[in-house]
Amino acid sequence: MFRNIQQKNVKLLLCIAALLILSALFFYNIYAQKQEQLVIRLGLFSGSNWNVPSGDSYAAIDNAIKNFENIHPNVKITYVSGIRKQDYAEWLAEKVLDGSEPDIFMVLSDDFNLYSTMGLLQNLDTLAESDPSFDTDAYYPASLDYGQYKHRQYALPFESVPTLMFVNKTLLARENIAIPENGWTWQDFIDICRRVTKDTDDDGVPDQFGYYDYTWQQAAASNGLQLFRDDGKFSYFADSKMAETLKFMIDLKKTNMGHTVTAKDFDMGNVAFRPFTFAEYRTYKPYPWRIKKYSSFEWDCIEMPAGPSGSNTSELNTLLIGMSSRSSHKKMAWEFLKELCYSGKTQRFLPSVSQGVPVIKAAAESDEARQALLYDAPGDEKMNLSIISNIMQSAVSPPKFQKYSLAMLMADSEIKKIIDEIIPFNNALNKIQKKINDFLQN
C-alpha cells in the first residue's frame, strides 16, 4: 500500500515537473521570438501639452524614432496616433487597467503623482546610475525635478515651458512708460499698474488696466516662498513671505479700482500685463497666429517681476515621459527614453517643431535651437532669448505629493477670500496653515 502511494507520488511529481518544464519552454519561446524583433510601444497624445494650437505634434517624436531605429535595427517603435490630450488620461488609465500600457508614455502633470505612488512608473534611478552615458547635470534642475517624487526620478522631462510676463508695448508707449528692464520688481509692477489704470473714454468706468490673470501662486513663486515641506506633511502658509505676497496681491487688486478685468479687455489691448507661457509666446508671436490674435497692438514677453524676498522666478511646466514598471524590455525602453529626453539631437531639434524649451541646457543654448526660436519672429520684436536659459535655470517646479492638488485647492479658496477682503487679513494665514496641516497629516 505504501509503495503504491509512493509510486503515485512520484507520478504526480513527474507530471508537475513536466508541466513546469513545458511552460518554461513556452515562455522562453515567446521571449526568444521577442528578442528577434523587439517592439517598444510608445504612448502619446496629439496636440500640444501647453494648450496652444500645434501643427505636426508628432514631428519631434517621429524624428527621434527614426534616429533610434537607425541605430537599433532590431527595434521597432510603435504608437497609437490621434489620442487627444483630454482623452489621454482615460486612454492611459484603461490601458493600465488592462495591463497593456505602453512601455514608454507621456505623463500628464495631473497623473504623475498618482502613477509614481502607485508604482506604475519605473524608478529610473538605478537605470540612470548604471548608465555611464547619462548625466543628470545636463538638465535644467527644475525640469529634472518635475519628474521626481520623494527624491526618486520616476520620469524624465521632454520639454519645459516657463511662465513669462506678456507686455502690451503699444499701451505702455501710449502712457509714456518704458518697457520694464530685466530684474524688475513688484514695486515696478504695481507702479505701472497704478499709472495705466484709467477711464480713457470718460464713461465713468475704468477701461484700461494694469494686469490680468496674475495669481497669488505666481507671486509666491517670485517671492522665494516654499509652500510645503518636501515630504508634503507640513505647509508654510504662515510664513512672512506669504504675508508679503498677500499684501502685494491686495494692493495690486486695488489698482483695478474694483473692476473685474476680463479676457476680452486683454484681447482688445486694454491690459498692460498678463502672465503668458513660453508656449503661447512661441505660438502667437510668429505667422500665422501673429495676425490672428493680439494683432491690434505690439507686444513682447519679459521675466516675471521679483518679490522683495525673491527673484524673477517663474513656475515651470514640464512634459514628462516615463517608463512602465511592467515593461518587459526595460533596457531598450531606457535607451529610447534617453533618445527622447536626453539625446542632444532630439532636444536640439525640438524648438523647430514644438513650442517648448529643450530640457537639456546644452541643447537649449545651441545655435540650432536659437535659430529655431528666432525663426519667423519679426525683426523688431525679438525677445532677448538669452534670458530664456536664465529663466529655465532659476525656475521652480511645483511640489509633488499625493495631496498637493487638493491642498492647493483648499488653500486657494481661502486665500482668494483674503485677497477679495471677504475675511480679514490678520491671523487668517495661521488659520489656513493649521487647516492645511491638519489635512496633510490625516
Binding site: 482615460e90 487597467l97 495591463g99
Partner: protein, 443 residues
Amino acid sequence: MTQPKLYSAAAMHYVLYAFNAASVFLLAIFMSITQTKINTSMSARLFLDSVSAVPWSANKIILFAICAFLLLLSLSIIYRRCILTQSKYRYIILALEICSCLIVMRSINMAYDGVILLVVADLISGYRGKNQRIILTAAMFSLYLIASYNLVDLQLKMIPFDVYISYYNQSVQGILKAACNILTSFNMILFVIYTMLLVQNQHQEKERIQSLNKQLNDANEKLRNYAIEAEHMAETRERNRLAREIHDTLGHALTSIIAGLDACLATIDAAPDFTKKQLKVISDTARHGINDVRRSVRRLRPDNLEKLPLKNALSQMIGDFASASGMHISLNYDCCPQNLRADEEEVIYRVIQESITNANRHGHAAHIEIIFSQTDGLLKIHIKDDGTGCENPIEGFGLRHMQERLSLLHGTLKYKSCGGFIIQADIPLSRGDIYNDKNNDSR
C-alpha cells in the same frame, strides 16, 4: 462503524476544496468583470484615482487565481500523502503550499482569506507530536498576520475589494458585500465541521486501538493457558512413554536378569560351566537392556544432537536462530574437546540454547559471542551479549534449569551483567571409565 466516519472527514475536506475553489473563482471572475466594465464605461482614470497600486489585468487575475489554486490543490494532496509516508520532503511541500496559498490570495487582491484555512486544515491533519506544535503555531500565526490585509498592504500594494464594490450602485454594493461575507462565514463553518470530524475520528481511532489491545490481551492469555495445558499433556505423555519404556525394556531386562541370576544361584555349584554360560547370557541381556535404555534416553535428546555431532548441531541451531531473529552470533568452538559424552553434549547444547534465547528475549541483544576454552580440566563456555543486561536477574526457569543441568555434571554457572549479559558455564572434564563408557557407547 469507524470507517464511514473517516470517510466523512475526507469527504468534508473535498467539500472545503470545492467551496474554496468556487469562492476564489467567483471573486476572480467578479474582479475581472468589474475591471472590464470600468474600462468600457470610461471611468478607468477615476478608478485608478482610488487605488494605490497597479492593478493586474482581468486575464491575469483569472489565470493566476486558477493556476495558483490548482497548484495549491495538488500540493495539498501531495502533502497529505507525504504525511502518510512520513516523507522528509513534506516540509518543503508545506512551504510551497503556503507560497501558492499566498499567490492565490494576492491574485484576488486579498479579498478572500478562506484559502488559509485549507493550509491550516492540512497542518492540523498532519499534526504529529510535540515538535510540530511549534511549526503548526508559527505557520498559522504568520499566515494570519499576512492575511490581515493591513500588514500586507505595507509591503504588497493591492487594490482593496471595496474599491471594486464602490464601482456599483448602492443597492448592488450591499448585495456584493453580503455575498462576500457569506462566502467567508460559510467557509469558516465548513472548516469547523471538518475539524470536528477530524477530532471525532481521532477519538474513535483511539477507542478502536484500545478495544483491539484488549482483544489481543485476551487472546494472549488464552494462548498462555493453552501452552501450559499442552505442556502438561506433553509431560504426561512423556511420563507414560517413559513408564512404558522402563516397563518394556528395563523391566523386561531386569526380570530376565533376576530370573537368570536365580537360576545361576541354583546351578552354580552343580554345573559351574553351565552357570558360566548362563551368566554370559545374563550379561548379554543386561547389555541389551542398557542399550535399550540408551536408545530410550536418546529419543529424549534434541533432534539435531541426535543426528549430528555437537559442533554441527550447535552451528545449525545458531544459524537457524540467527536467521530467525536477525542477531549476529559468533561461535568459537576451537578449544572444545572432541570426545564429549552425550549427556555433556546435551547440557552444553541446552545451556547455549537457553542463553541465546534469554539474550534475545530479555536482553534484546544484537550480537552474541560464544567462546569455548579449556583450562585445568575445566571446559569453560563464555557467552556474552550486547543487550540491555539485567542488574538483578531473577532466577527463572531458564537459569535454574541451566544450573541444575550443570550441577549434574558437577559444573557451575556464573552470570553477571555489565553492559550486556555474560554467562560462564564451567564443566569439569573428568575422564576415565566414563570416557571408556562413552567409547563403548559410541560403538
